[in-house]
Symmetry: D3
Subunit: 328 residues, 6 copies
């Protein structure tokens, strides 16, 4: 059994209107649970890599349902602390064509935000861990979470556990200024950075563009790897997606792929999971970024936040077979 990946972050309830209904039309919601870091854990678990959540959810049946949901998909939830007031909620309506999807966040006062640093025993949590992952939403959740995160990062560095960070700026959580102040110092503990040229510019003071931007991020923050993803959206809703991985001085570019979207949420997490998998399993950098993009592309076709895909399915995509056929 491989050493487990530890994913630290908030868990939320996701409530989706049916089909393409708008919020004001909804008479019911589908229910799943999500979290940027937890989505990465789910994808890794589908690929046979042990993954554990570190978070905090209320000690009532909705909290239990949340943990059950992640456990259903093979993620270990035993490290999640029970307590606090409420689970944050994400209301989602799925757009179509030129109408973008919309999210209404109701995530203030969440169980994780009121965590006491003493509730997490980081040395025990990270003992034997193979990887530590967090995103830019965790530091945005207030001092308690930030403190806990810093302790976790310090412990990870001390234990030599590699750390990945997905920038994921959310303007509903904090301002660009706040992020630009708090995020850079955290990179000291980070090995793998996932974001975009715009992120590098806005939050990390990197003025270069293109490959130079990745190189500058790498050098400035002493990273092992930098990955940028790119997306453009066509008027009728087709998404064009690609990524680059900068590793040991070389840039590896994925193919550029068009995809018709069922559910875009969680596609970035699928990419990050693919990246972590490639680096953990020491696949070639080109294969790593290709696999990550393939996972992200295929995630676009799956409802919900999770990249419920087998390694074989992703590889079949990479081999160019299977697209749109009925496999029977």
């Amino acid at each position: 059994m491989a050493a487990p990946v530890i994913a630290f972050g908030e868990l939320l309830m996701r409530l989706d209107t049916h089909g393409h209904e708008r919020f004001v039309q909804a008479d019911g919601y589908r229910t799943t649970f999500t979290g940027g870091e937890a989505n990465v854990a789910v994808a890794l678990a589908q690929w046979g890599l042990p993954a554990r959540l570190v978070s905090r959810v209320p000690d009532h049946d909705i909290g239990t349902a949340c943990l059950n949901h992640f456990r259903r998909y093979g993620v270990d939830t035993d490290l999640v602390v029970r307590g606090g007031e409420r689970l944050g909620i994400l209301f989602v309506e799925t757009g179509a064509s030129q109408r973008g999807s919309r999210v209404i966040y109701d995530r203030e006062h969440s169980a994780l935000r009121s965590i006491e640093p003493t509730e997490l025993d980081w040395p025990a949590i990270l003992d034997g861990a193979g990887w530590f992952h967090f995103t830019g939403t965790a530091p945005a959740l207030g001092d308690n979470v930030l403190t806990a995160l810093r302790e976790g990062l310090t412990a990870a560095r001390g234990l030599g556990v590699p750390v990945s960070f997905d920038c994921s700026f959310r303007s509903t959580l904090w301002s660009e200024q706040q992020a630009a102040e708090i995020l850079p110092p955290l990179l000291e503990y980070v090995d793998v950075f996932v974001g975009s040229e715009r992120d590098a510019q806005t939050f990390f003071g990197i003025d270069q563009t293109g490959e130079a931007s990745m190189a500058a991020m790498n050098e400035t923050y002493g990273l092992r790897a930098v990955a940028y993803t790119h997306r453009t959206v066509q008027p009728t809703g087709i998404n064009r997606y690609s990524a680059e991985l900068f590793l040991e001085g070389t840039t590896y570019a994925s193919p550029i792929v068009d995809v018709s979207v069922v559910d875009r949420i969680g596609t970035g997490d699928a990419f990050t999971a693919g990246l972590i998998r490639g680096l953990l399993l020491e696949e070639s950098p080109q294969r790593t970024v290709d696999f990550a993009v393939a996972a992200a592309i295929l995630k676009h076709t799956i409802p919900g936040d999770f990249a419920l895909l087998s390694v074989e399915e992703v590889e079949r995509f990479l081999d160019g077979s299977g697209a749109g056929y009925v496999l029977r």
Copy 2:
């Protein structure tokens, strides 16, 4: 057009699991909106009486959906203030037989709780009003709401608008001690009290039992009318329900009725609405309490919080016709 009934209180989103599913089984929820006072307003609107909500909901699409829901059923929502952080949520699973229904409240930090007294112009709101209704949950929502409520009650008294109060103690909102401290002074402004002998004892210092309890409530607090409701639940889920109305020194008892339950939530509000209607229209006290109980009984058979019943349907029940028949 009759003078409108003003209902002041919190509006919440209600999310129900499907059928008799437990929370941990739910993969989706039906969505409605509710509120103890607002449910009374909806019932009155079904009966042709103008009803207006006074509350506060966030200025986003879920807030709009909430207002739309009440407006759909004929309640005027123009007085509802837009603002604040979030709408409180009520997760509901419907029990069966010996398994009671369960509610998980996620109603802290709601839009109403952060209302500023200046946001409500009570003299304007109550101008031309025929009735003012509130319940015991409003005073439990913190100082801002309590202040706003007191101002509303003072204005109502000043304008001679009759006031009804449904005790509705919720242990998830505050303690019995807190309620026993805050509620009694509010009765100074109340004309019609709806509750139970246990409420009288616990919160209002009334030691008598039965009819004497109602008389004591009446006298102690200078009320115009006191109504008590009674419910017992049989093992297989049949509910036995009745009520008494104490008015001008006389007690009027309703029949005792058994009912098979589809949805119990909102049945007390249906009763209160029936009571207000009878008093407003100056029906006989016996007819008033009978109508109120009939409305409550029939509400048990309707999914959701609302007593979506016509006057004719309630009266047909009172006349003993129609029960269980197919009307075609």
Copy 3:
């Protein structure tokens, strides 16, 4: 193969709100198709007896869906004429406990009502038929249908095909006076009458009560058999149901049975189908009325209008086994 039963009457679309929702709550409907006579045909088809519909439905996809629905359950629809403006609609909300179910009819201007007598070639339709069935709704549908019905009855009498009639008065279709004028002459062609003491009194001038009423109906109208059904509804929704069959001077009473109701519509048709089956197969009169009541009782537990029951299931009920058990 037995000689087929011919059922003449209107076919309608039935739209049901979900669960116990009221019309004003509905955001969707379940769709089936129905018809008092057609329901009898469906039950007979489940029991292996060939059954054919004679009716008229529009020549569009909703008309086709209607015929498909009956054909799905084994009824022959080849005799149904295509044409006319629209299919009548029955909106249904299912009550609970003291709240009765409600039906809103939208059945005016239906395809059958505008039928031209020449569209039905009765001698061909009835050639080789073993039975002819109609109800009291057909004569209420206007002159065209009444004329067609009279021609059918005349042809049946001429060919010696036995005729059954289920009184089924619907106040939304015509008045009691109209029915009392039009129905009695039709009994001249009828062999088996299904109704109630109240029907005998209101429409057929029979003043006697109880068994004497059945005997009087029998004698006055020269019938072969008379069947009365009885129903009382308890406050919490349990239905008490029984029937009597008067045949060759003797009354055969079924047991009195209590049943908890899923869907009451079509239970009378299930009874009539059971009666026709017993008479056609020359079962004993007692077995005939018992089977008919058993079919009606079990129909109460099935959603939709159809008695989708095997002979074995009805007989297992008669044998007192199986009630409420899981058969596995």
Copy 4:
């Protein structure tokens, strides 16, 4: 508060099969309510403009549900008369790719068709009105409606209320000849015409093409503004949509936009609503036609007939931002 827009026309129930199911596959329908003029009213209400329906619906619960549906979305239904036999019904199956959507109308004998002119007090209805809107379906509904419409138009002209007319020819309601006879005289009362070059040719005797057609319509009928919309459909279902507005001698052309379709019904009404809004608020002609097209485009992505869009959403589309992104 702006002066209200009055929309006169028929209200119908819309029953949709689920997903892309054909009528013959349907086992249930989603239920909404619609009406070409009422859809315009709903869109205007979303944009903060007061809108009122003038129509007639039956005095039963389906009629009430219809009004509740429009009231839910902020449209004033107090002017709608209750009475008549039935609500017209629209059965809809949604096509895909080369299979077009299909509608089966069951709208004969509707409540509106039997309206008596005396049921509408036009001077009172139009008192203080800011706009009057009708479509080409109203004059197709028979003499009673035509008479009522003419009275309304006369009153509007007398009171100086601007009138818009959307041609919307429906071959299931009447023939082209009938329309060509009845519609032209109505234009005498119209200020703003919405249609197509083909409409101008077929019903209004205009032989010119392109811009000249609009100019000829304008001049011939003394209009204030003429708007034409254009649509072509690609084999795989993408719709290409654009419009032109002819105002004071100048033609303002919108961009040509491709859109992937969720629900096409009501897109023309969204356009008309955008047009009315721009003219009422005296926006620039170019902005007016652009906004109208943007509203129509976005309506294609929303299930049901209503353009449930905020002004901000339409403007964000016009600004070219947001397309296909997750807004969070």
Copy 5:
């Protein structure tokens, strides 16, 4: 009435996850019934051609539901034998964009596989038949089915009933080697072959390509007609589809059509049904292949396996009208 088409093959239950859900997400399934040969029968029945199934299903309610499903759509199921252990099942998840649809077969030990040759009285079955159709899955179902099939083919040949064969190789049922051994001898009884160049090569020893392949198939196996279909899938899920019919020495090519896919399963059966119809009704070869491709294209837009299309709808497509429009 035309002479009936006999379709011999297995009937299966099809269970579909909802929307684009993956198997591991499913909390429910939609249920239909299918079968390559039966799907052809359903399409023919929609077009007014009598079609009869020859198969075997268990004598329980799921077996009955299967027959009811086909009967609903007008197919005669009276020849289907009842018996055997179980109905095969097909679990289906519908892909999107680059994620292909997936099928999990659970069809071993099916009722048909254990059929005894004596259970089918082929001379009686084929008496008066106008056509016999089977696919490459039937011979893959084991010796019992193969024996029965051979007897049927022999009887058909003896009676002069034309026979069509759709190659439909399924790798989950048998290997290419097995198929290459068993299929060719069956062609001796076949008049019309439907497949692909690859089929000709893999199973029938034909090395030529393009038109020459069809000619070689025709000559080698003494066929009357050969039809090849072609499909390519674009990354975002659009399917490009076309076909060629080789008849009496001439190749008739259909147009090449792009289609956006709702449900691909059964599109090949729709093509074959179109082919059979054209040949049976002696339409021109070009019209025949065009109609067959049009039926296949439109089937892509219909959920489930059935080409629920009228002749008029297919012809309207051929005439280039109607695409993507709302027909009202």
Copy 6:
């Protein structure tokens, strides 16, 4: 952490029609997974006791979905072997009132049935185990399963792991004679027997009745404890349920409880789980049988096979509080 309970038996897919629909009405199914032994494991996991499944499921996505379903509810599935042909299926329609629920089994040729004894390493499986549970269905699944079971029982006895056995005779799996031959020798390894007087008589040669039957079972087979459950069903569907526990020479009788049924399947498993819990935690015998009956009663009110109940909920029932109330 307590020593885990090992549950050995078959896992099946359960497909339920919606509401009270009959199989022939179904257009879709809800999907869960079940297994008599696995249901016990789920109940124990809800109560904080570690529970592990030993079984075999196919190595495809339906097999994965099955394991995910149990893991969701906290059961350890790591010991389940992947392989074999298919997962058995249970089609369920839920009865009402006098119509019993019906199950169609499609469970032949299941993955477990073809298990090779070498696939289960019993000493490793049972290492550290606190309990072993199996039911009478496992021995009915053929020689492979029986051999594996015997090896498991032998290992359990060798390791001193207590063994419980729930008789659960299924006539669809084997005959009474077969059961009477195979089951008794297995009791040699059993400590706790759950069944009925009829089971004792039919399969285990015990002629006594009542308490004497339990004593005789105990003595004859050297058991530690014997539990009998009793159920009678009233015509309108109310179930009367009770149980007795015979332990160390004394009989402990539970109260007799009436319950209104939502889903009866799995109620026996809930009872057995309650029994195992009481014995494992060394609760008093009376408390043990009362808790077990309470769990069974409450399970009747929960859809699906699982007793998704907390210890607190069961105890609240035992304390007589909460019944039918809304807990808020």
